[in-house]
């Protein structure tokens, strides 16, 4: 596998704020990444710099091994329609699609036409009069039909109804299966996109706080469900992320990968294990990162550091040692 995007020590400063803070990343060819984080975490800024629409204060970006700035050969292999994209005045959706066809060598008009039909996009209304959801749909159509080798989707579902969102997810996976490419999907509807993502990158206050395989992330914590007393006995000495109870039944989310011994103990106590939602983990990670920032402590005492080892352990343990997962284990970093 090769890295198509390589970012080293990227920093973007707006006046006093650090929008992107010393970010290093490597994104591989033909994979779907989730770029997750809160509003204002730096997602759009990061994607702008990767596509040379924005400028970094320091650090380097390599796309297909080259600098993207003013590099047409590299840029035409990427597509980034930002959230709140501006369109030419009086432009209608069909204008925008015709323009996109001029610039993206892999543009697929059939994909464009069928998506327009599915989204029921009014082609003859000016874009500035479209609803928020229809505006998002224009961006989604360009992103999918461009078939760019690296495609960025920036909060693509904003304003889209549930049906339209499902269409987007289905069509993305369908087209991705036939035409693999690198997709970076920024989102804060984490659970909804979780099943699409092969890898998640979580950014908070400009810093990468998690960069790991989705499956490895899910194993970072578990929810134990069952008789309240038995659950409480099991979680003693473990870090509890979340606790819920209803009568005699408790559901407690604990951090850390379950060992075989743990699983035996759970079976004996007749407790069930439920997976933790990606959203919850991301939220916890983000909050932990915020606490660390508040404490001015970047290294010790943070559960994120333990989790980094856990992530590595997960990759190594259940990978069946395929080269891929071993590599993931090494790289599955939770900072």
């Amino acid at each position: 596998m090769t890295s198509v995007i390589e970012v080293e020590h990227l920093t973007k400063r707006y006046g006093d704020t650090l929008a992107v803070d010393d970010v290093s990343l490597a994104l591989e060819k033909d994979a779907i990444y989730g770029l997750l984080g809160r509003n204002g975490a730096g997602k759009t800024t990061l994607m702008s710099i990767l596509t040379a629409q924005g400028f970094a204060t320091s650090g380097s970006v390599r796309i297909f091994g080259q600098r993207p700035y003013e590099n047409a050969a590299v840029l035409q292999r990427m597509c980034f329609v930002r959230e709140g994209q501006k369109y030419p005045d009086d432009a209608k959706p069909w204008h925008a699609f015709r323009m996109a066809r001029l610039f993206f060598p892999n543009w697929d008009q059939d994909v464009c036409d069928s998506l327009v039909a599915q989204f029921q996009l009014p082609m003859n209304r000016t874009i500035k009069k479209l609803s928020r959801g229809q505006l998002s749909a224009v961006g989604v159509v360009i992103g999918l039909a461009s078939r760019a080798e690296i495609t960025f989707f920036d909060e693509p579902y904003l304003g889209l109804d549930a049906v339209a969102r499902q269409i987007f997810y289905d069509r993305l996976l369908e087209d991705y299966a036939e035409h693999p490419r690198t997709v970076l999907l920024s989102s804060h509807l984490i659970d909804e996109v979780a099943n699409l993502l092969e890898r998640v990158v979580v950014i908070d206050a400009g810093r990468i706080v998690m960069d790991a395989e989705t499956d490895a992330v899910r194993d970072l914590a578990s929810t134990v469900v069952g008789d309240a007393d038995a659950v409480e006995r099991f979680v003693v000495g473990r870090e509890v992320l979340h606790r819920e109870s209803l009568g005699r039944v408790a559901s407690v989310t604990v951090l850390g990968t379950l060992t075989d011994a743990d699983r035996r103990a759970l079976a004996e106590a007749r407790l069930d294990v439920a997976p933790v939602s990606l959203q919850q983990l991301v939220v916890r990670t983000t909050q932990a990162a915020a606490r660390r920032r508040a404490a001015g402590d970047t290294e010790a005492g943070a559960w994120g550091m333990e989790s980094a080892r856990d992530a590595a352990a997960v990759g190594a343990a259940d990978g069946g040692a395929t080269p891929d997962t071993t590599r993931t284990a090494e790289k599955g970093v939770l900072r």
Partner: protein
Amino acid sequence: MSRTVNVVRMQLVNKQTFGWVPLAILVGALAVTLAIWAMVPDGGALYSGGAQAPFWYFAVIGVQALTLTFPFSQAMSVTRREFYLGTLLTAALAAAVLTVVFLVGGFVEQATDGWGMNGYFFTFPWIWDAGAPVAAAFYFVLSMLSFVAGFTGATLYKRFGAFWLVVVSVGLVLVLIAAAWLVTRAGAWSDVMGWLLTSGVGGLTAVLAGITVVVALVAFPLLRRAVP
């Protein structure tokens, strides 16, 4: 190169901005002018300043080409250089079309003795003094100057914000005032007027062309660091 041509095509996908709107402005101004002339009692040649309307509109397209089409071109993975060259090329095309319209209008006007009313909309006498080719060059340069003024102003705004746009605009006005003051102090107004009269519309066109090139060149380094 082909991507630069594609920028031209992108700017022209929507025919309205560069085509129909300036045409409508011109036809509208002409219609209003002719209607007024028809109501004016006979006596002497009539002239109208209405023909300048489409030239002003070029400044508007210059602004829009940047504020609205530049951000979109970035999403189309167009480099800033391709956008710059393609957009100026589009403006040159539109200016050429407008020039042809003015030439044809001027010939019609001369052939019909001012629309049968001795009224002159396209053929402002001083501009046509040196002949149709020089008048054409003048119209072309005037459209381009108007366009690049809007374009560069908008680029400055995009790059440095409203404050610096105002600072630069006020600065330019101050420079002009200072120049006028110097001319007055040197008692050289008669020389300036004399130069304008002797060099005629050709000389003025050359000066405006020089200014246009400078203003257009200023936009490029600004655009290279502009963010959509």
